[in-house]
């Protein structure tokens, strides 16, 4: 379960709050679509959920852990243990191979490494399994620089990385905005299927309202964020 309570967050002390969220909950295993125009604070919200930034007021509870109460280091560990991230684009580190990109979380989270090894025998084997699930043919892509892959392929590698080691939550920040319409729907279906298969919670943010129909639950950010966007 994810729960936000009386959150106030601003990037700089002199700014107006970017987020003011009195109450917001997502039960475990649910997929939520959060929409909002550019600059409304979607990415900021995801940073908050990931514990990369902390609110000046309020609690961010994930599972039964209030992550605002954790030390910086503990929050970093908590993040990688529990959350897989997918960003808009350029998700991959250009000088690492596909496999190295996918196994990254396993090097920072012993929990996710453990999960992967239990599941597939080794980190690499688990990464390969996930890449296959994402319809990526590693035999064909192996050795190719990640920057030479198509955007759609890169995004699917990013999903495989987010799913590695079965984190409880997947956070996706406009992962489809760089894709064309056809690839976009296929990508969404694939993502939803995999997330459901592991019973993870999915928080999916985008400014693209047309995606809302694909999700059981869909909320505009304005509905939960009462801060008046300063832009």
């Amino acid at each position: 379960m994810i729960e936000l309570q009386s959150i106030i967050f601003r990037w700089r002390p002199s700014d107006c709050p970017t987020l003011h969220i009195p109450q917001f909950e997502v039960p475990q295993g649910e997929s939520v679509f959060i929409s909002g125009p550019s600059g409304s604070g979607k990415t900021t919200l995801l940073n908050l959920l990931g514990g990369v930034v902390v609110p000046e007021e309020g609690k961010v509870t994930i599972g039964d852990q209030d992550i605002t109460a954790l030390s910086n280091q503990a929050r970093d560990t908590f993040r990688v243990d529990n959350i897989g991230f997918i960003f808009q684009q350029f998700n991959l580190i250009p000088f690492l191979s596909i496999l190295e990109n996918v196994t990254l979380p396993g090097h920072f989270s012993s929990q996710r490494r453990q999960n992967s090894i239990e599941r597939s025998g080794s980190l690499e084997a688990d990464a390969k399994r996930l890449l296959a699930h994402m319809d990526l043919d590693l035999n064909e892509l192996e050795g190719r620089a990640v920057s030479l892959m198509s955007t759609g392929q890169q995004q699917r590698v990013a999903v495989a990385r987010a799913l590695l080691g079965a984190p409880r939550i997947i956070i996706a920040d406009e992962p489809t905005s760089a894709l064309d319409t056809d690839t976009r729907m296929a990508f969404l279906d694939l993502l939803s299927k995999e997330v459901e298969a592991v019973n993870a919670t999915l928080i999916f943010v985008s400014h693209d309202q047309s995606l809302a129909s694909r999700f059981k639950r869909s909320i505009p950010l304005e509905d939960i964020n009462t801060a008046k966007g300063h832009q």
């Binding site: 990369v52 970093d76 808009q88 684009q89 920072f108």
Partner: protein
């Protein structure tokens, strides 16, 4: 693999990804390391070689001039004597009871760039270098005839001379162009073992020999119309009238200062007696400033190369914001981001040091014969000294510390960016 080794491997791969700029940075550091160690090496080797050149001699005596000048021309074959001293004075002084041995030295001629030293067989008997070591012959023996020559190791090696080969001596010190004494050739009778001192670059002949070749000369040029052949010269009485300097060994060290005072107060001729150790120390003092200047310059070069590295690391930071944001999203801590940059600095400096040392040895390998031939300085290939090691460690630590500056910058940047990927 845990997070620490993941960060190290990320640093390595990130650098490999920027191999051109990283390579140039390493090269800049390597050059500065080579320069610093090279200067250090030349300095210590020059000092060692100077100190090793003379040993066991109590006093050096020459015409009155500067002590350092006397030391330089009499022992190191650097520069020239402004005045000679008379044979009579030499005889008179060395007849004193406290003198155990004396070696006369007569300089002024050369052979293909190597100095020719006129002396007598006492030279081979009493001269000591290094740790009171005797001169050894690898081939042949001392002078027998007035036209016999004994070669230093470098002379024999670089000119390819062997015992029985003839050589002609040139008047003056020019490589070429000086007037030849080719009417009176010398014959190589002995070759000395290597000493690592200017001796290796000296051709030793008998005093009578130097006298003989100059017998039909006056004031630095041949007397017109006067020709004395080599055969005729043997018939003449060849006692030298002047010599350049002489070395003295005393019966007792206790009489050094007394002897020195007596020589300096010698009335018939203005003479100067110096203690080799004291003169050497004066020489070091004189060179101290130049040495320090060289050291400062090399340090500045090292500093510049570290600045090159900083510029490279800083310029990479902006394009790596995305990399940092991704790393944050997969669980990298702020300390990991910081360490990554410090590790990169460490890798660059470490590689620079290794390449620099390799370059130094390669340079030594190539330049050693040239430096030996040109300056008479023998640079050995010994492993890095403790002092060098400390210098290298200092450079490494300085590199790590300066790496902390871009690392802190990356830290701040990543902290304020969060997981927002900026392109």
């Amino acid at each position: 693999m845990n997070s620490a080794s993941a960060i190290v491997s990320l640093s390595v791969k990130s650098l490999a990804n920027r191999r051109v700029t990283a390579g140039l940075t390493v090269f800049a550091i390597a050059l500065s390391v080579m320069l610093l160690l090279g200067v250090e090496k030349v300095r210590t080797e020059a000092k060692a070689s100077f100190s090793n050149t003379i040993s066991g001699t109590d006093l050096i005596v020459g015409a009155r001039s500067g002590g350092i000048q006397l030391l330089l021309y009499s022992v190191f074959r650097i520069g020239n004597a402004t005045n000679n001293i008379s044979w009579k004075s030499y005889k008179k002084i060395t007849d004193a009871p406290y003198v155990e041995w004396a070696i006369p030295l007569s300089l002024g001629d050369s052979h293909r760039g190597f100095r020719v030293l006129g002396t007598n067989n006492d030279y081979f008997k009493y001269y000591r270098y290094g740790r009171k070591q005797n001169l050894q012959f690898v081939d042949g023996k001392e002078f027998q005839d007035i036209f016999d020559a004994v070669l230093g190791a470098d002379v024999a090696e670089s000119l390819g001379y062997r015992v029985d080969d003839p050589i002609t001596v040139t008047h003056g010190l020019g490589q070429t162009g000086g007037i030849n004494h080719k009417d009176k050739p010398f014959q190589v009778v002995g070759i000395l073992a290597r000493t690592g001192t200017p001796l290796d670059r000296t051709i030793h002949v008998s005093l009578q020999g130097t006298e003989a070749i100059h017998i039909d000369w006056r004031g630095g040029s041949p007397l017109p119309g006067m020709k004395v052949t080599a055969e005729e010269v043997r018939q003449l009485k060849l006692n030298p009238k002047t010599i350049t300097a002489f070395l003295i060994g005393l019966e007792s060290k206790l009489s050094i200062f007394k002897a020195q005072r007596q020589i300096n107060q010698y009335r018939k001729e203005p003479l100067l007696a110096i203690l080799p150790g004291v003169a050497l120390q004066e020489l070091w003092d004189l060179m101290g400033t130049a040495e320090a200047a060289l050291g400062v310059i090399s340090l500045l070069v090292v500093g510049t190369s570290l600045l090159v590295m900083l510029a490279m690391l800083f310029s990479s930071l902006n394009e790596r914001r995305r990399e940092m944001a991704i790393l944050r999203s997969v669980g990298a801590r702020m300390t990991h981001i910081f360490s990554m940059l410090v590790i990169e600095a460490g890798l660059l400096v470490g590689a620079g040091i290794i390449v620099g040392v390799a370059l130094l040895y390669a340079g030594l390998f190539i330049l050693q014969p040239v430096i030996n031939a040109k300056f008479g300085l023998f640079l050995s290939f010994d492993i890095i000294t403790l002092r060098d090691g400390l210098i290298l460690l200092g450079i490494f630590v300085a590199g790590l510390l300066s790496g902390a500056i871009p690392a802190y910058h990356a830290y701040r940047q990543s902290l304020s960016d969060g997981m927002i990927i900026r392109v």
